[in-house]
Symmetry: none
Subunit: 228 residues, 2 copies
DNA sequence: CAGGTTTGAAACAATTCCTGACAAAAGTGC
DNA sequence: GCACTTTTGTCAGGAATTGTTTCAAACCTG
């Protein structure tokens, strides 16, 4: 079966051109014209690679990239008309694998797609969409968290932070790393906020926030999610 | 242990600049000024990534890339002043992972290096993460220490010091070295505190702190952790 | 503009760290 | 073995750091 490439871009013409190009090279193309549609299709069709536009009306590409990374390790290539170095760096730091500036050359694009697919371990895409720690469940696709089967409402930042902790369950993550993962590389100084959000999360998911059983402090280093 | 990057380029100035840049970001740089030298050093030092110039007097970069690929799957990034699409495509088709055109931006180069290193498997960390000495177990991932299966709480400094001792189990480490490793190079005068912390640790992990069985004194030199 | 969300600053609480003094033990020469 | 010196171990309390909580202002977003 051919390798599947998901193209997410609000510009229909671009999607069309990319489809033709990629299909000519033997790939199967899945098309999405909006960010949320892209995420849903990523989940459903398990693509081997994602081509992602940076600017879209409903949600920017950065956010899509972040959420995709929560779901899987699929290779992500940004496509953007904005070619400033800071954007490229931002995209790569955010977990993307490459950043191609429009207008791109068809051959180069295909070559880069191929290079990344070559590395990619195969259709081992989305692994655990749900973390189940007995009393505690988190579903990364619909962003639901349940404690003792009670649904807990989390804000975006709260969910993002909790996600980083859960995906690294069992190991201590430094504050700096947590901030980098949950806020993005450009918020190195958000450590104050981090403490707050740890507090919020504990209020929401811990039975007794004073004696946390999930989100544990590692003094002088960071936090870790108990590996049940 | 820092990740190793092999830089192969016949232009000494370029190599020098790259070294400074990469070392500032915490990488260890191995330098090679000729193609054959580069291949030899790749073989000997097992780099985690290779930065490769396309044009060199003795053998061109393409050939180096091909031969490297015969030896290993190490990520390869081409660096070249020739930015024509056909060269980029050729490089990527040849097995390289990325192609950066000179003059490059420092931040972008580092970001791309990071992106590729993130993908690469990493030098089998798993065994190093837990030390199991029968009655004594230390888990560097979640920073837990257990003696006779009892969980022992350690402060950051205590853990750091114990970590150095355990990682060098069986070997005597000088006081100066211990301080340097556990406190950092700038605290050369913390030798006074060292004996304090040795004391704390013994109180916490030894059955009989007066007759230590784990943390042993080597009079006039330093301490060592019993190797079991 | 009203709601929830995010941020910064600061008070408060707890722990971790260091200082200096002294006690104990190990090595040394007689 | 006995004094002496050197090195290592122990102790206590206060300084410094780190973590938690509260409060209020800024910020979106619909």
């Amino acid at each position: 079966m051919p390798e599947k490439i998901l193209v997410i871009d609000d510009d229909e013409a671009t999607v069309q051109l990319l489809s033709i190009l990629l299909e000519r090279h033997g790939y199967e193309v899945i098309k999405a014209y909006r960010a949320d549609e892209g995420l849903r299709k990523a989940y459903r069709s398990q693509p081997n690679l994602v081509l992602l536009d940076v600017m879209m009306p409903d949600m920017d590409g950065w956010e899509v990239c972040r959420r995709l990374r929560e779901l899987s390790d699929v290779p992500i290539i940004f496509l953007s008309a904005r070619g400033e170095v800071r954007d490229v760096v931002k995209g790569l730091e955010m977990g993307a694998d490459d950043y191609i500036i429009k207008p791109y050359d068809n051959d180069e694009l295909v070559a880069r797609v191929r290079a990344h697919l070559r590395r990619s371990p195969g259709p081992t895409v989305s692994e655990e969409l749900v973390f189940d720690g007995g009393q505690f469940r988190i579903n990364f696709l619909n962003r639901e968290v349940r404690v003792k089967s009670r649904l807990v409402h989390l804000t975006p930042k709260e969910f993002s932070l909790l996600g980083v902790l859960v995906r690294n369950a069992g190991r201590v993550i430094t504050r700096a790393e947590l901030v980098r993962e949950a806020w993005g590389p450009e918020y190195a100084d958000a450590i104050d906020s981090l403490k707050l959000y740890i507090h919020y999360l504990r209020q929401k998911i811990e039975t007794n926030p004073q004696r946390p059983e999930y989100i544990l402090t590692s003094r002088g280093v960071g936090y870790r999610f108990a590996g049940h």
